[in-house]
């Protein structure tokens, strides 16, 4: 395993863990603040939208029959944000009772949160790969020359 990026000195594993804990933090750690902000906005925005659409009951790790919610495993891709929202969501779901499971908007909200989790896994992989396998310097120089020429 590659512990340190040869160019920036930033650790790909640290970027991976940070990206899981806070969406976009892996890119920010690698110095890509713009992308970090974009990913944070998109992923946390999706989670928040999912919570609003589903009445706040979409991130629960056990269903009414105390079975593990598979959706929650997908939502856990967004790590820290999902962990922070789980107790709030579970409390709201408990208050809502069985009726919440018949709500179509809750289904859409659950999907939003799950897609946020999947997208964060993609972002985590991107943060790791960009540090672990940086592009060839020559390739970057060529790109800079092209940009200057245009």
């Amino acid at each position: 395993m590659i512990d340190r990026s040869p160019e920036s000195g930033a650790s790909p594993v640290a970027a991976l863990v940070l990206a899981w804990a806070i969406p976009g933090a892996g890119h920010a750690y690698a110095g890509r603040w713009g992308k970090g902000a974009l990913f944070f906005g998109c992923i946390v925005g999706l989670l928040a939208a999912g919570m609003i659409i589903g009445g706040g009951t979409v991130i629960v790790h056990r269903d009414a029959q105390e079975h593990l919610e598979l959706w929650w495993l997908a939502q856990m891709g967004a790590g820290g944000a999902t962990l922070a929202l789980t107790p709030i969501s579970e409390e709201l779901a408990r208050r809502g009772g069985q009726a919440i499971y018949a709500n179509r908007y809750r289904e859409v909200g659950t999907l939003y949160a799950a897609v946020a989790g999947f997208l964060n896994v993609l972002v985590m992989m991107d943060a790791y790969v960009k540090l672990a396998f940086p592009r060839d310097k020559r390739e970057e120089e060529e790109e800079t020359k092209k940009k200057e020429a245009s």
Binding site: F39, I43, L46, I53, Y105, V115, L119, L122, V123
Partner: protein, 73 residues
């Protein structure tokens, strides 16, 4: 034919399933996916728009095919 198309759109608008909520989801997925591929914001925007339109049109065509199958077979 015209009647069928009219009925298709009428059916879409009166669905109890909030299908229109899938569009923002698709747009965000497109932006995040393409942002992992490109670095230039303009390239990201262009590629994400292309991806979003492809998925939207693809789903729309699928919906029309399923609707036709359901109506005529």
């Amino acid at each position: 034919m015209v009647e069928t198309v009219r009925h298709f759109f009428e059916h879409l608008l009166t669905l109890s399933n909030p299908f229109w909520l899938y569009y923002p989801l698709c747009a965000v997925a497109a932006v995040v996916y393409k942002a992992t591929k490109f670095d230039d914001p303009r390239q990201i925007a262009r590629a994400a728009l292309h991806f979003f339109l492809s998925v939207t049109v693809g789903i729309f065509i699928l919906a029309a095919v399923f609707y036709a199958m359901n109506r005529f077979f």
